[in-house]
Symmetry: C2
Subunit: 371 residues, 2 copies
């Protein structure tokens, strides 16, 4: 774990840069808003930890109603269990003997679920769970449109569900039916139509599994861009939203039903950066480049400053168009990152601030956990 | 530091994935080739450590003739000095009291240089060096075309050079004149023309500084895409190449003088990944996404396998077009990352392999060092 960029009690203006700031008021409002929505909608929230990679935040979400968390990797799940989280779904396939053995060992310490889309993989999981003397809960993943992992909805999923149910050391728990590629569709109508197709495929699969004599206790999916559709479907009963706690520039660009842009949740994550060169007219260079935020979904936005545009990132530098030369050397800016999850993965600490003061430092314990 | 993906002596097929592999034969050939070139050309090599972030590799380069290394951040320089490197240029501006104080402290432990492009920053460095009782070597950075940090070539640089020379605790060491935006220009002729302009600006600035009574002991710049031009210029005397040790997909696309593509240095860095889903025809999903490699310069290439194309990355997944369904679940692939530097920054370990066996594990000690 690298050096902390700040100490508790410090003014936010003293935080070393670049650093990841969490606006605690905005973060808490986001958590409460989603918790209230799930409670009112009668669906469970299993918040996705790939956004924050922090057991502290995971426990905060669970204390406010989440039933547990999702991770994508065994090593992330280990970091969460080590940090005191006792209910983790690896919302992903786990392939390879070493990883599967570690997953089984973890199931001796916490409630652990995993996804499958292959019969051979089910046999591997069953064997490892048997050797470890544990039960692992298994969701069959169906590809409801993202074109990534998962078998086709319908009969392929039924076959795997029966296979899981017949495995001595596995428990068939239901379906993983996440439509990841719909989350960032800009237009509200197009996004809704895409998810309606996913819902229809999921409903049909649930019905077929029921006809085969099995019950899906969990029908899981949804992200920050589409969760209202899944929650209102009457099919999904567990949401896996992650980004809502922080938001990012790309999620801010999707349209809500009645207006352009997305302000349903507030930006709570910022890359604090310092102007480190102001030698040329019209340009400022800041100390946050590719090592401080991820540009896979576009450039970050400069918060609260009109006329400034972050136009390019190199490894260690950000170029900021400053046509009025309004910036000075050493001045600080807050950037809204383009994509929150991989940005968090570049840092070791989340610096929680309130009223201009550092209130808490959360280690990003699952940073870089990729096995 | 996260868990190692492998142990020394292990077969490469047992390395946990995704992991960063270094083909040691290719790496050593690259290091030797650049060392020989510099020796024959009569220029110094100060290898850029932002590529590898490893004191072990830095010391390997120095043992083969490099005069020292470059870093971009004070925290990286600290990691290098802690790891036994005793000559580090921070080839970047250092702005802000805490960072400058740390830089001055480091200059008490190793030979330390830094770049400047602002008179106020020179005063801050001088004060900190005085307080720490050290001398810091200073290069004036000139913008020779990249449009990033650095003052304009010519008189602006002369003014700063004189200012440095007049500072009690600083030593004027010369010019930083790196043309970063030229490195990846595809066409050989366009790349050469761009650097010829940089050389002309640098030469003129050196001459003016000489006319003002100062000598540039170091005239530094050049990267893996352009180093032969700077080395042959009769102006530059210190090269700062970094990527040549590993190479990447983007550097592989620039043209050499007599042919398309760039095979001057061999690919030595690979992301080893496992097929974790093969549920759909025509598609395989691997376990290396945005957390395992950086896509800022394009998608990675699949090494040694025709007909396979890595077409998209999400946080934890890579989508690989597999029209012949040639891949099997659990199969391993080696990816040539799009951009080596930010890819290395995502990992904690470099796994050095030779003849199919893990020979060494190098900690990426300066990973995530951004202050």
């Amino acid at each position: 774990m690298n050096r902390q960029p700040a100490d508790v009690g410090m003014s936010v203006d003293e935080v070393d840069t670049p650093a990841l700031l969490v606006d605690l008021d905005a973060f808490e409002r986001n958590v409460e808003k989603m918790a209230s929505f799930c409670s009112e909608s009668g669906v469970r929230l299993r918040a996705h930890a790939k956004t924050h990679k922090s057991p502290d935040i995971a426990k905060f979400q669970i204390a406010r109603g989440a039933v547990g968390i999702c991770c994508q990797k065994v090593s992330e799940a280990e970091a969460m269990v080590d940090g005191g989280v006792n209910d983790v779904l690896v919302s992903n396939e786990v392939v390879g003997g070493r990883k599967i053995d570690r997953l089984a060992a973890l199931a001796g310490r916490a409630r652990i679920g995993v996804c499958v889309d292959d019969a051979g993989n089910i046999a591997d999981l069953d064997r490892a769970a048997g050797s470890a003397g544990v039960k692992i809960e298994v969701l069959v993943e169906v590809d409801v449109g993202a074109g990534r992992c998962g078998v086709a909805p319908g009969e392929e999923a039924v076959v795997l569900a029966l296979r899981v149910a017949d495995s001595a050391n596995l428990e068939f728990a239901g379906l993983q039916a996440y439509q990841g590629s719909a989350q960032h569709i800009r237009k509200f109508g197009a996004r809704r139509n895409t998810i309606e197709q996913s819902i229809a495929k999921t409903r049909d699969t649930v019905d077929r599994i029921a006809a085969a004599g099995l019950r899906c206790e969990t029908i899981a999916g949804a992200g920050t861009g589409t969760y209202r559709f899944e929650a209102g479907s009457g099919v999904y009963n567990e949401l896996q939203c992650g980004s809502y706690i922080f938001m990012d520039a790309d999620y801010g660009r999707i349209d809500l039903e009645h207006r352009s842009g997305n302000d349903e949740f507030g930006n709570a994550l910022f890359v604090c950066t310092t102007v480190m060169s102001k030698a040329r007219s019209g340009l400022a260079v800041c100390d946050a480049g590719l090592k401080a935020h991820s540009v896979d979904s576009g450039m970050p936005l400069v918060r609260g400053r009109t006329g400034l545009e972050y136009t390019g990132a190199s490894d260690e530098h950000g170029q900021i168009k400053d046509p009025d030369d309004s910036l000075e050397l050493g001045e600080r800016l807050w950037l809204v990152p383009g994509h929150c999850d991989p940005t968090v993965n570049l840092h070791d600490w989340l610096v929680g601030i309130r009223n201009g003061v550092v209130e808490v430092l959360w280690p990003i314990s699952a940073r870089g956990m990729m096995f």
